[in-house]
């Protein structure tokens, strides 16, 4: 069984994305053997108040059990905690601090991390949506900084972070900048990590450990086959592959 932690529905404001529908996602999941996806509402990263986007997300996914809505919560808004209360059954919560004009390790984000931790909700943070070289001229938000992940991971022993779209150097900077206990509270999706011949993923699995990685695709922005292909190019034990595809995430969910 495979769980994709980095899927979306809806349009993308900076280029035409023609396939952001549940039907398309499910078609890809069936083709690639992905059982379940954590799904965000793509345009909400630019909404000042993502709450209406969350309502859209729940409505769009309402008939699809395999697509689990992951609401976005902007901690810069008064009373944001009520949005967490409204989505207690969600598998996780998303936030986009750099697009919302928030300091990624500032008071609002720390408040959100603590609030999610109190409800045992993992917080999903996306490093970037697109390669720097192809971004729209109005897409000027900075990438999520590694320092912010280190800072948020240190706040409380209950904080759990899923980081999507991080490359090798980012992951190393965070992982080896945390204690072992802090590092256990961060899971990394594999969507942006290079395979051979550079062997970034193979190296990370040796140095950081398979227990710290989860499966993510970035669809419908990114072709999902990419993440499957890079696993297929590794000499992974079935145990490690299962852990990446599902087991590591399940441990967190079971812990709830």
């Amino acid at each position: 069984m495979t769980v994709d932690v980095a899927a979306f529905v809806g349009p993308f404001p900076f280029r035409h994305v023609s396939r952001g529908t549940p039907k398309w996602l499910l078609g890809q999941m069936d083709r690639l053997g992905i059982a379940e996806a954590w799904v965000g509402h793509l345009p909400s990263f630019l909404y000042r108040d993502p709450s209406p986007g969350n309502a859209d997300l729940v409505r769009i996914l309402s008939d699809h059990e395999r697509l689990r809505p992951v609401p976005a919560v902007n901690p810069g808004l008064p009373g944001f905690a009520s949005e967490l209360d409204a989505h207690q059954r969600a598998p996780a919560v998303r936030a986009y601090p750099t697009y919302w004009g928030l300091d990624p390790q500032g008071a609002e984000m720390r408040h959100l991390a603590v609030s999610c931790a109190a409800k045992a909700l993992p917080l999903v943070l996306t490093v970037c949506f697109e390669d720097l070289r192809q971004r729209h001229r109005l897409d000027t938000a900075t990438d999520l900084p590694a320092a912010a992940v280190r800072s948020l991971a240190r706040i409380s022993e209950d904080v759990k972070l899923v980081i999507s779209g991080a490359p090798k150097g980012f992951i190393e900077e965070v992982h080896f900048g945390l204690t072992e206990t802090e590092g256990e509270r961060v899971l990394w999706d594999i969507s942006w990590i290079w395979g051979p011949p550079e062997e970034h993923l193979r190296t990370l699995l040796e140095t950081v450990g398979a227990g710290h990685f989860v499966f993510g695709t970035g669809m419908p922005l990114r072709i999902p086959d990419n993440s499957v292909a890079k696993l297929d190019l590794l000499d992974l034990s079935q145990e490690d592959r299962d852990a990446i595809q599902e087991g590591n995430l399940r441990q967190w969910v079971l812990a709830r």
Binding site: P196, P197, M219, I223, D225, A229
Partner: protein, 264 residues
């Protein structure tokens, strides 16, 4: 048959302690992916002794000699492009002649000189005369100069291609960074431009638009420096096209593009 038209290897002068492991990793991954031939190049010393995209003549010679050595060592599995720096015009032509005599089957142009510059004309002409394609590094919709390279975009490469209609050009790595949709527009009506699907970019719609604008008849499988992304795009494509198109992208187009008998 699966032909990778955009591969790279390293040498002891590449400034990498693990250069041999990287070369071995490419071959190992290639075998797992089912690649039957890597058409590949070595970009000088990869910045170690001269810039990757502005290689010195000495580094060009070393790289091409090493590429030919790899070609001999992995007969049929690895075949070389001849790398040249067009700023050293006579040297570039000499290298092409030597490389093709040695069994190389294409010319690799990176980013030493803008693609529409007249200095590239004799190189394009020589490739056309020899019946070998030119693989050209591209920054899709380059809107300014970036450090350490004089990159070209596909509008600029199309200008060269239209001056040399008997020469075939491969637009490198449609997923290699920049606005790939701009490249697809620029290449659509230039029949001697082909697109390789390599590059770290794996945007959904990239392959769909390529099929719609360029067509499977001018698309080529490639991996460049990120083999999983090339393979991922191929697998995605194979879920969307019929068997004939699939075969063209995997190898059929490469068999037409490169000299007869290049792949056994």
């Amino acid at each position: 048959m699966l032909i990778d038209v955009h591969g790279h290897f390293y040498t002891e002068r590449s400034g990498l302690a693990d250069w041999q492991e990287r070369n071995a990793a490419r071959l190992k991954a290639g075998r797992r992916m089912g690649i039957t031939a890597h058409v590949a190049s070595i970009l000088g010393t990869w910045g170690h002794r001269s810039p990757t995209y502005f290689p010195s003549p000495t580094d060009v010679e070393h790289a091409n000699a090493a590429m030919l050595s790899l070609q001999r060592m992995h007969d049929g599995e690895v075949i070389g492009y001849c790398v040249v720096n067009p700023n050293f015009a006579d040297h570039a032509l000499d290298q092409i002649d030597q490389g093709l005599d040695g069994g190389m089957i294409g010319v690799k142009l990176a980013a030493s000189r803008r693609a529409d510059d007249p200095l590239l004309d004799p190189i394009a002409q020589r490739a056309g005369d020899a019946g070998v394609p030119v693989l050209h590094h591209i920054w899709h919709h380059r809107q300014r100069d970036w450090p350490n390279q004089e990159a070209s975009d596909t509008v600029e490469l199309a200008t060269l291609a239209l001056r040399h209609t008997e020469t075939q050009f491969i637009v490198a790595h449609i997923g290699g960074g920049g606005d790939w949709a701009h490249t697809l527009r620029a290449a659509r009506d230039v029949p001697n431009l082909w697109i390789d699907i390599s590059g770290s970019g794996v945007d959904v719609d990239m392959m769909e638009w390529a099929l719609e604008t360029i067509g499977a008849e001018r698309m080529l499988f490639g991996t460049d420096l990120t083999m999983a992304t090339g393979w991922g795009k191929l697998r995605y494509l194979e879920s969307r096209v019929d068997g004939e198109s699939r075969d063209l992208i995997r190898s059929g187009n490469a068999l037409k593009l490169f000299p007869t008998g290049a792949f056994g």
